[in-house]
């Protein structure tokens, strides 16, 4: 028990400190309405009544508790009808247990139902655990209430979502060298010299990109055409790139190059403005 000599008084009545809570404190109905919000349900109320009687859950005085419970429920029904349903269910259960306790106990083992209070006692014990758990949970440091997560801002995520870095001239050269290697492998083919138009090649590349969206760098070359054909394709790509009609992308250094048609977004802001104006 708490040493009342050294604990703080509960309050003062006419200047006299009050240490002990009066037994069976009368709760006026108006206060009960406020108290109702304190109980989170019938189990909570029941537990409160048992505690107030300084009773052990294990020797649950079912009669006394049922009576007191009913007093509260009757008051509640006058005050807050919609709440009553859950509380009434508990009242019915208490009444049932009470009446089963009143029945003379049969002492044959065949029909041993056990103490009718057993299930309720277990529920009360379970509820006590849950209530203690809820309280401990509330005492835990909570985000937004007791602490805030600290983070440093980085724009890494934004960059990752953007178009991969621009392809350098060296990378282009390396990619061309690869294509040229393929040409050399097939060098024994005799190719008839013909006039190759860079502009025409540009149109061919554009229409292919139109159909297929994005292509690997190498797919745009036909090694069968020989060096000159490859060079024309390469010049066409450079020209298209210069005119902002295609975009060359690469996931990371020395990886595959990709070619795709430039979209409005890729175009310079100046061009965008113009198109909007007209």
């Amino acid at each position: 028990m708490i040493d009342t000599q050294h604990s703080l008084p509960l309050g003062f009545v006419r200047g006299e400190p009050i240490f002990d809570q009066p037994e069976d404190l009368y709760i006026p109905p108006e206060a009960l309405e406020l108290m109702l919000d304190l109980f989170s349900g019938p189990m909570d109320l029941l537990l409160y009544l048992i505690r107030r009687q300084k009773m052990d859950i294990l020797d649950l005085p079912i009669l006394k508790i049922t009576e007191q419970y009913m007093v509260y429920v009757d008051m509640m029904r006058e005050l807050k009808l919609e709440l009553a349903a859950d509380y009434l269910l508990m009242a019915a259960m208490l009444a049932e247990i009470k009446s089963r306790m009143l029945l003379p106990q049969k002492h044959d083992d065949e029909d041993d139902e056990g103490d009718p209070r057993a299930e309720l006692v277990r529920r009360l014990q379970e509820y006590e655990i849950v209530r203690a758990g809820a309280q401990q949970l509330d005492e835990q440091p909570q985000q937004e209430r007791d602490y805030f997560v600290a983070q440093a801002y980085t724009d890494a995520r934004d960059l990752a979502g953007q178009t991969p870095a621009e392809v350098s001239l060296e990378e282009l050269g390396l990619a061309l060298a690869k294509v040229m290697q393929l040409v050399q492998v097939q060098a024994h083919h005799q190719i008839k010299r013909e006039h190759l138009s860079t502009r025409e090649r540009m149109s061919i590349i554009l229409s292919r990109l139109d159909d297929q969206g994005s292509l690997e760098f190498q797919q745009l070359f036909s090694p069968e055409e020989g060096r000159s054909g490859v060079v024309v394709s390469f010049l066409a790509l450079l020209e298209l790139n210069k005119e902002g009609l295609i975009v060359l992308t690469q996931a990371e250094n020395f990886s595959q190059l990709y070619v795709r048609k430039a979209t409005r977004v890729d175009a310079s802001p100046w061009q965008q403005d113009e198109s909007r104006d007209f």
Binding site: G41, E119, V121, P141, Q143, A150, Q151, T154
Partner: protein, 208 residues
């Protein structure tokens, strides 16, 4: 090779810039992938970092999903003035429902109701799921196939827990059905109570 100093710096930078708490494994396979390090070494560096932050306004803590930096709890009353919104306060009913799910998961709505003695509020279940603290992990193979609810790592993170058993109350087993006669209940008091009731009932019958 990587020096102790560099290791701490890398971990610090990684945890700070990550959007979620970071685990030791994530550090090993991510930012530390190119250095052949083992878990104990990384844990050691994390502990050293925690020490470095001991007197700072920010601390390095381990929660269910990993390590994260957060502001010190003592600073919260002052820090809340930085934002106009107040921290939400959770009702006893919500916390009880949450504690119950945490304790008995995976658990059905019916089982929650049985313990709390109250029908489970749809609003509370909605809030718990919206906050990402509770999710449906399956269905119980009984008629009606009720949903089974469980708590999430996000729930543990929010309440600064690494596991449910951090809460002593919820580390307990479900109480057994006990034989009340053997549970040291005073038999005499019991009998008295019963006679009492019978007399009263008889009285009422005569009145009626």
């Amino acid at each position: 090779m990587i020096s102790e100093q560099q290791l701490k710096q890398l971990i610090e930078a990684a945890v700070f810039t990550a959007e979620q708490p970071v685990t030791v494994d994530q550090l090993l396979s991510g930012v530390l992938a190119n250095f052949s390090l083992n878990r104990p070494r990384v844990r050691q560096a994390l502990e050293a970092l925690q020490n470095d932050y001991r007197d700072r306004g920010i601390e390095l803590v381990e929660v269910a999903s990993g390590y994260r930096f957060q502001t010190r709890a003592e600073l919260a009353p002052a820090l809340v003035h930085m934002w106009p919104e107040r921290a939400p306060r959770y009702s006893a009913a919500l916390l009880e429902t949450l504690a119950l799910i945490a304790w008995r998961q995976p658990v059905t709505r019916g089982e929650i109701e049985a313990v709390r003695g109250v029908s489970v509020s749809t609003q509370i279940m909605k809030t718990l799921q919206e906050r990402g603290w509770v999710k449906i992990v399956g269905h119980k193979e009984v008629p009606g196939r009720p949903a089974l609810y469980a708590t999430t790592k996000a729930f543990l993170d929010y309440f600064s827990l690494t596991s449910i058993s951090d809460l002593p109350a919820l580390a307990q087993e479900r109480p057994e059905l006990i034989d009340l006669d053997e549970a040291a209940a005073p038999q005499s008091g019991q009998a008295e109570l019963l006679t009492d009731t019978r007399e009263r009932d008889a009285e009422e019958e005569t009145k009626a």
